[in-house]
């Protein structure tokens, strides 16, 4: 970039060098598949949610007596209000879908492994913030499911030791979910996305420090890296086009498929719906909550189930790079885990009145945690087995080199310590 204006700016602000460093010269592995599009898509969905949300907030009324009516006002009288609201509602589901694929890709290819632990943990933090935002946003339409969903989930904080009751009241601003809960959830639902944007920047700084992982699992040589722009901007934009088609099918042709019918009935504290279900993206975790007979245990299990992913860098002890690509057993574990998630989702959706559903939920919950706990042992055994069976030369070479590097570092460390003495 050149020209007098750019020059003027560059003397005062590192614009050209920033663009160069982060875009036009930023080295990206050329072998990234379309599974690497989903981080970019998550960013776009975040922008879509903020943009539609700001306009919805102009017409929405955070008041227990007006909230439900104001949603119908948006749906009926505001110009293209129905479009804004459906984009926002479908957008929440799209956000979780994209994030789940993004996480699944990270797990499959082992992208969470050193040196990308901090990248993975900031992502984990983003997931928690996204869940909190979605949960609070779901109260705002003030329908039956909004009200009872918020009642059930805030009630879980009762298990906080010693101050449980106070914590629940503090969260709700009242003894039960009501106007005070609605106004604070609205306020926080508006605040959190901006915290998320901040956390996304941290996530990106971490990414640009360690660079993208790639399907081969090996750090590529310089000649195999290509600049992010124009190659991956072009690839990401094509992926965005496909994503928007799917998104639009939901927004325009089946926007109500993801909205519970009971949420079209105004909140009524005197009447519990037959069956309280959360949105689809919370179902597996909800199933885990219900599978533990004791409430305290259930809440701990649910919290742990979301946090388990953060332990993966410690749990996976295999030195073989590339995640599931060179590791048939890890690959099998991955797919079993996905199936287990689907089973849990189904269990979470069904009312717990059927004893066989409860049993399935408990088995699936056990499998969920077991699949994490076996990773350290299975990964080590798998590594030994694979080395004995023989790995591709490049992989062996990389592992040997990493081993030598580690030895060299240790040696260096010992030497320095010796010097000091």
């Amino acid at each position: 970039m050149s020209g007098p204006i750019i020059n003027w700016i560059d003397k005062r602000f590192p614009l050209t060098s920033f663009v160069k460093h982060e875009l036009t010269d930023y080295p990206t592995p050329r072998n990234l598949s379309y599974w690497w599009n989903f981080g970019f898509l998550a960013g776009i969905v975040l922008v879509l949610q903020v943009a539609t949300g700001i306009f919805l907030a102009m017409h929405y009324k955070a008041d227990a007596t007006l909230a439900f009516d104001s949603i119908q006002h948006i749906m009926r009288e505001v110009n293209y209000g129905w479009l804004l609201r459906y984009m926002h509602a479908v957008g929440a589901s799209a956000f979780f879908f994209v994030i789940f694929v993004h996480m699944a890709r990270t797990l499959y290819y082992g992208s969470f492994r050193a040196p990308r632990e901090l990248l993975w943990w900031t992502g984990q933090g983003l997931l928690l913030m996204l869940m909190a935002t979605a949960f609070m946003g779901y109260l705002l339409p003030w329908g039956q499911m909004s009200f009872w969903g918020a009642t059930v989930i805030t009630n879980l904080f009762k298990v906080t030791p010693f101050i449980g009751e106070q914590v629940v009241i503090w969260l709700r601003g009242d003894y039960s979910v009501g106007d005070d809960t609605l106004t604070r959830f609205f306020s926080l639902h508006y605040l959190f996305p901006f915290l998320i944007i901040g956390a996304v920047i941290v996530h990106l700084v971490a990414l640009h420090t360690v660079k993208s992982s790639n399907p081969s699992g090996i750090d590529l040589k310089d000649k195999d890296n290509i600049p992010f722009h124009p190659y991956f901007t072009a690839k990401d934009l094509y992926g965005l086009g496909i994503f928007l088609i799917v998104y639009s099918v939901f927004v325009f042709f089946m926007p109500n498929s993801l909205i519970e019918p009971a949420n079209n009935v105004p909140a009524n504290p005197m009447m519990t719906p037959n069956h309280i279900v959360p949105e689809w993206y919370f179902l597996p975790f909800y199933a885990i909550l219900r599978s533990v007979p004791n409430m305290f245990g259930g809440v701990v299990a649910m919290a742990l189930s979301v946090m388990m992913f953060a332990f993966m860098p410690f749990l996976d002890r295999s030195r073989i790079p590339g995640g599931a690509r060179y590791r048939p057993i890890y690959r099998l574990q991955f797919y079993l885990f996905l199936i287990d998630m689907l089973v849990l989702g189904y269990v979470g959706y069904k009312p717990p009145t059927n004893p066989s559903i409860v049993v399935v939920g408990q088995v699936a919950t056990f499998c969920y945690f077991a699949s994490f706990f076996v990773v350290p042992f299975v990964s080590k055994m798998e590594e030994n087995w694979l080395i004995k069976r023989g790995l591709p030369a490049g992989i062996m070479e990389l592992m040997e080199r990493e081993k030598r590097d580690l030895e060299a570092r240790k040696e260096e460390h010992r030497r320095r310590k010796g010097d000091r003495i």
Partner: protein, 213 residues
């Protein structure tokens, strides 16, 4: 692997255990304006006595192409911007049914099964052996058989009442989501645009990547 098999087996078992729910009649709800306008008329004749539709105004009926004189007849003294309000005073309704008849603005979307539910419910009235009238879909209902379908004398009369029920559901479906038609039309353009855009972006991507050796 056996873990997987067990889970799948259990999944199948639970699937079959849950197959028992009241069967709903499936209908194709018309979306053309004349059908909706006819539905509005049937709704006003059969339901407005007790039920309100607070998100639909008399003015909205004009947009369906209903004759102004007819709408004026229905609204009487009320202004065009008055919501469709039940003729029965709330106190009378409370005294008669011990609860207020629900607002019907969103009824077509407020039950599992949507329009199919409402239709099945409306035609689900039957005469019990003891002579009282029950409902297959919602046995606890307090609403007396509004179309008199339980007392239909013959198949022809029953078919006629089913037609009215379907017409009412057509109006309810529109009332629950009045912009559905517009959404549908706009959606087709948006998807067509996005398909062309994606195709072009694919070509751009191909072209740019072809620079790589």
């Amino acid at each position: 692997m056996s873990k997987l098999l067990k889970i799948m087996l259990l999944g199948c078992l639970s699937m079959s255990a849950f197959a028992e729910e009241a069967k709903l009649e499936k209908i194709q709800v018309p979306t053309d304006k004349p059908s909706i306008a006819k539905g509005a008329e049937d709704w006003i004749n059969n339901c407005l006595t007790c039920h309100t539709m607070k998100y639909v105004k008399y003015r909205d009926l004009l947009s369906l192409g209903i004759d102004k004189a007819k709408v004026d007849g229905w609204r009487g003294e009320a202004s065009l911007d008055t919501p469709l309000t039940a003729q029965m005073p709330e106190a009378v309704a409370m005294a008669t049914f011990a609860k207020l008849p629900p607002d019907l603005s969103l009824m077509a979307q407020a039950r599992d099964g949507g329009p199919n539910y409402v239709y099945s419910y409306l035609i689900g009235y039957y005469v019990k052996p003891d002579g009282s009238v029950g409902n297959h879909i919602f046995p606890e209902t307090k609403m007396p058989d509004p179309l008199g379908i339980s007392s239909a004398a013959n198949a022809a009369e029953r078919a006629e009442k089913q037609k009215t029920a379907k017409s009412i559901v057509t109006f309810l479906t529109w009332a629950a989501d009045p912009h559905a038609g517009e959404r549908d039309t706009l959606g087709k353009y948006v998807i067509a645009y996005l398909v062309v855009l994606s195709a072009l972006l694919y070509v751009v991507k191909k072209q740019i990547w072809s620079r790589l050796k």
